[in-house]
Amino acid sequence: MTTTSAPTTPAPEVTKATSPLTRFRVPGGFALGAVLLLGIAPLALTDFRLALLAKYLCWAMVAVGVSLAWGRGGLLVLGQGVFFGLGGYAMAMHLKLADAADTGIPGALPDFMQLYGTGEALPWWWKPFGNPAFALAATVLLPMAVAAVLGFFVFRRRVRGAYFAILSQALAAALAIWLVGQQATTGGTNGLTDFQGFFGYDLDDPANQRTVYFVIAVSLLLLMAAARQLFVSRYGELLIAVRDSEERVRFLGYDPANVKLVAYVVAAGMAGLAGALFVPAVGIISPALIGVVPSIGFVIGAAVGGRASLVGAVLGAIAVAWAQSTLSDAFPGAWTYLQGLLFVVAVGFLPGGLASLGAVIRRNRIRTRSGEAA
């Protein structure tokens, strides 16, 4: 009888963090990451390697957004290069204008514009980027605005799944083609490069390059912390619900379009920030860095590491980027095969990525053990 009657006392709260190990897992991991990135890496690595790491960390920042939009929201964002590029170009345009202003000639044009010779005044849409505050705000807000407009129209009409993926990919293709076509005002295939200063600091100075690295590392940690807060919030729960059963969420009275829109816009902002920091760290932004192929590249890292796991996505992005630059120098052909194979294996047979490897092995072990028992 007692088993069927309703309990008179409310069920006890599910105790989540019982052992100290689980309670301190997240802040502990965060602290470990901070020590590694801010303490050990700058001490242990040469300037050259630290600059490489800075580049990988920029890509990892994009992966944080991919993990949010794709891992948690199920939105396969194949056009993150667009937002990375918008952020990068916004920053690069400002740096170019600042360099031109530093020459002391009034009304000087950025060097590449003199080279490709429209020879005329600065195009109107370049002008606002001379203002540092506007340019800095634009690196994040411009991608977010573009994502908001596109996402609003696309999600409202319930364009989703493969349609959304292909549309976002087409966007990346279109932007890259447009940039190449407008050589006189965007630098074309060469992109924008050869920056001298960064808000008054000389970019050739190794000490300043280290500072850029620290800015990037801190930004990545902040983005991860922000994403983690989003993941565990009520919104994060809703996002997963939309991913798994959009119709059910709609029947419960939520609007899935808005839920997806937030994830898409936040991911775009993260990619924009990454692009903006990529420019001073690497010294170039070009269509080849933001087109269809690099856009899929942003997804690869997250897929290999584990799309739904924040740490997995970030580590995956760093590892793939590292493997790419080390192996592609040594064995250019073999790397492409390996990259393809990695993708097939990771996505096809380990959809949770390397982050789920432990869980998969554990599950198999339990299965074999229970199999023996039976």
């Binding site: 319930r158 493969a162 349609y163 292909i166 293709a173 447009w178 095969y337 993708f343 097939v344």
Partner: protein, 295 residues
């Protein structure tokens, strides 16, 4: 007037290439819901088949005719193999298929690079296809473009006939419309899937033969066309042959007219914006298969 007519014809021939490429996708993406990014590499395989056959058979006209069925078989076999190895394990995860097949496409591109070298290769067009036909004062149609247009229309006709009137076509349509019901009715859906994939990929091979007439052949040949081809299928409506036909020609003409009045890159961007706007109006594409499912 002549300018408009010339641009329209250029547009129609761009549309014909798009149509040939999108036709296979209509089957694999449209009918089966599989997003095969390696489709572009099947096009490339068809193009390289033409190149190899031209080396083996000296006559350009004969080798082109031989290449059509051979490319169909080569690309079709590659597609069937891919379906058997990977895709059939991923039918429940369409978005993951996209990423997995992209990995495959990377490997196939590298394979082409290792076999044929990174630079583009050229094929000779047969003499009969190099000339122009003057239709009226100032208007001339390139023979190669006419050939592609004819090939595209012929492929559409053949595919329609197969889908409408053959037992295989009937089974394909049954699986598309209701997979579970088809299966309990005794159709071996797995085998039908593989045949569908074989035909769809084979058509990509035929498209590959056609594009050797209009452009160079290289390891990245397929990637140049694949995004546009997917857009054709999305706008035309998933699994709708007539939707793809109309969309391919409309996009082709739109592209060429816009290219004439602006630049190539601006035209691309305008076409994309137009597609997003169109999907606002008809999110399921031009033609839709009416079902009661929510998704």
């Amino acid at each position: 007037m002549t300018v408009i007519l010339n641009q329209s014809f250029t547009g129609i021939s761009i549309g014909a290439v798009l149509l040939l490429i999108a036709l296979g996708l209509t089957l694999t993406f449209g009918q089966m819901g599989v997003i095969n990014m390696a489709h572009g590499e099947f096009i490339m395989a068809g193009a390289y088949t033409t190149y190899v056959l031209q080396k083996a058979i000296s006559g350009a006209g004969v080798s082109l005719l031989v290449a059509l069925p051979v490319a169909f078989l080569v690309a079709g076999a590659m597609g069937a193999l891919l379906e058997w190895l990977l895709i059939r394990r991923l039918y429940t995860r369409p978005l993951d298929t996209l990423l997995v097949t992209w990995g495959v496409s990377l490997m196939l591109q590298q394979l082409a690079r290792d076999i044929f070298g990174a630079p583009n290769v050229q094929t000779r067009a047969p003499d009969i296809l190099t000339g122009n036909i003057a239709v009226a004062e100032g208007i001339s149609l390139a023979n190669s473009r006419l050939f592609i247009l004819g090939l595209a229309l012929l492929s559409v006709l053949a595919l329609t006939l197969v889908l409408r009137f053959t037992p295989l076509g009937r089974r394909i349509r049954a699986v598309v419309q209701n997979r579970d019901l088809a299966e309990v009715s005794g159709i071996a859906t797995g085998r039908v899937d593989r045949m569908t994939f074989f035909i769809g990929s084979g058509l990509a091979g035929v498209a590959g033969v056609a594009i050797t007439l209009v452009g160079p052949i290289g390891p990245t040949t397929g990637t140049n066309y694949i995004v546009d081809a997917f857009l054709v299928v999305v706008v035309g409506g998933i699994g709708q042959l007539k939707g793809s036909v109309i969309t391919a020609f409309v996009l082709g003409v739109l592209q060429s007219v816009l290219e004439y009045s602006t630049t190539v890159s601006v035209a691309k961007v305008i076409v994309l914006v137009a597609i997003v706007a169109f999907l606002q109006w008809r999110p399921q594409g031009l033609y839709t298969l009416r079902t009661r499912s929510l998704a």
